[in-house]
């Protein structure tokens, strides 16, 4: 069962609606018990790093998520802050992340931008997959997504980078390692590009 984690941050309903239009039933998990039958997990998120970690801890789902993702190898897709919490740490906060993918969340320093608008990185930007991956099937060319962030995922292992984007320089906007996927942009708010990506995740 496609399961969307509701820990109090992020557009749970927006994801649910995309899948509803695809005629896919979803479960919304608010407790460890709700994660029991998850065969796919989406970890959304809008907000700050520490707050997200705190919320996940308070929800009592951290252990269940670790078990599902690390032991049962259930595919998981982290979105925005839901991706960032998969790192070990973030320059935005003091708390430890889930540590599922080797990396640290860093703040942009886009002094090379040709325009006066600096941060946050806000709006539609091109996403270029760097390797062949089923998550980006049909999105290899001309794909664009909505971004809204000031921090990005800095991968320690370059093979974990799935896609890059450009904002005053190339940065990693999608990470992946085995069953674990993370994307910085918002597929649930990126029209048909986003629907395609969420359908790809469903079909993994």
């Amino acid at each position: 069962m496609m399961t969307i984690v509701d820990y109090g941050l992020g557009n749970v309903m927006a994801f649910a609606n995309v899948y509803k239009r695809l005629n896919v039933s979803v479960t919304i998990a608010t407790s460890a018990f709700d994660l029991k039958n998850a065969s796919k997990i989406i970890l959304p998120g809008v907000g700050a790093f520490d707050q997200a970690i705190e919320r996940i801890d308070q929800s009592g789902m951290r252990e269940a998520l670790n078990t599902k993702v690390l032991c049962d190898r259930v595919p998981v897709l982290g979105v925005c802050v839901g991706m960032q919490v998969m790192a070990h740490s973030s320059e935005e906060g003091h708390k430890s992340g889930l540590g599922w993918i080797e990396g640290q969340v860093k703040k942009f320093g886009p002094s090379t931008l040709p325009h006066r608008t600096r941060l946050p990185h806000m709006g539609w930007n091109d996403v270029q997959p760097t390797t062949k991956n089923r998550l980006f099937e049909g999105l290899e060319r001309d794909a664009r997504f909505y971004f809204l962030h000031s921090y990005y995922f800095h991968c320690i292992r370059s093979e974990d980078i799935l896609a890059v984007s450009d904002y005053g320089g190339t940065f990693c906007c999608a990470v992946g390692s085995e069953n674990i996927y993370g994307i910085q942009f918002h597929p649930e708010k990126s029209h048909h590009f986003g629907t395609q990506l969420l359908k790809n995740f469903l079909d993994l």
């Binding site: 557009n11 927006a14 040709p114 608008t117 946050p120 909505y146």
Partner: protein, 262 residues
């Protein structure tokens, strides 16, 4: 490459949508949910929805309505109207809204912006300033409460302060230009752009795609927002929800923002 954003702005009143002229004469233009659905089909870059009753009649945000809107929007949504406290912002974000706009509360009590930015991240905090020119000397002043209350504050000083406090975006709304469809206030927008580096969205006055092109030509990366342009058609202002199609939009950006072609 990052693109400029073209953003319909919808005004909510009594659970319906209206469009105003200089913040007056609200004209009914349709149902919010239906309108959002049409904009979904048109794949708009973003949407701003402002509840123009929420502050003036002190009703606060209508969470039921916001929840419906957020669930329906397939594009990023910025909600504004009646937001004065941190807990309201947190509730609205939990309902699935990406950005929360604060206006009167930010002008009256700027400290609230840093508190909110710290908690929800600055990317979700938007300050909307309604600005009007003083007729005697052309000085700009910030108004609140749907254009009914003059705070006498200077918008340039205010946006600088907001940036320091951690705002993620400034929406600058020119009251004199609202609904006139005669073009944006570029003088005001330039002053704001020079004062800050956070994203700026300009609202008020767009009457054609040419006006949007001019704004993009002036600033490159900018939010170009409009109400009337995207809800009316023709000289008699018949209600017709519209938005440039992807190729039209691409051509508009390329023609006015040469860096984009690189």
């Amino acid at each position: 490459m990052l693109r400029p954003r073209i953003i319909p702005c919808l005004l909510m009143k009594d659970k319906g949508l209206v469009k105003t002229i200089q913040f007056k004469k609200p004209k009914y233009v349709g149902d919010p949910i239906n309108t959002v659905r049409i904009f979904n089909e048109k794949e708009v870059d973003e949407l701003i929805i402002m509840d123009i009753d929420a502050t003036t009649i002190a009703s606060g945000p209508d969470y039921k309505m916001i929840e419906h809107l957020a669930a329906e929007c397939r594009m990023p949504l910025c909600y504004g109207g009646g937001v004065t406290r941190l807990d309201q912002v947190k509730t609205i974000i939990r309902l699935g809204v990406e950005k929360v706009a604060i206006s009167a509360a930010a002008v009256e009590n700027p400290g609230i912006i840093s508190k909110i930015a710290e908690e929800v991240g600055r990317q979700s905090v938007v300050v909307v300033l309604d600005v009007k020119k003083r007729p005697c000397d052309d000085q700009y002043e910030v108004w609140t409460h749907n254009g009914k209350k003059n705070t006498g504050k200077c918008p340039i000083k205010l946006v600088k302060e907001m940036e320091k406090l951690g705002v993620g975006e400034i929406v600058i709304n020119a009251i004199d230009h609202d609904g006139e469809m005669q073009g944006y206030d570029l003088v005001l927008s330039k002053k704001i752009r020079e004062a800050i580096t956070v994203p700026m969205t300009v609202l008020g006055g767009a009457g054609s795609l040419k006006d949007i092109g001019n704004l993009i030509g002036t600033f490159g990366i900018v939010g170009a927002s409009a109400g009337s342009l995207f809800v009316f058609k023709g000289i008699y202002k018949a209600v017709l929800i519209n938005y440039p199609c992807p190729t039209e939009k691409e051509a508009l950006i390329c023609a006015n923002y040469p860096q984009f072609m690189r």
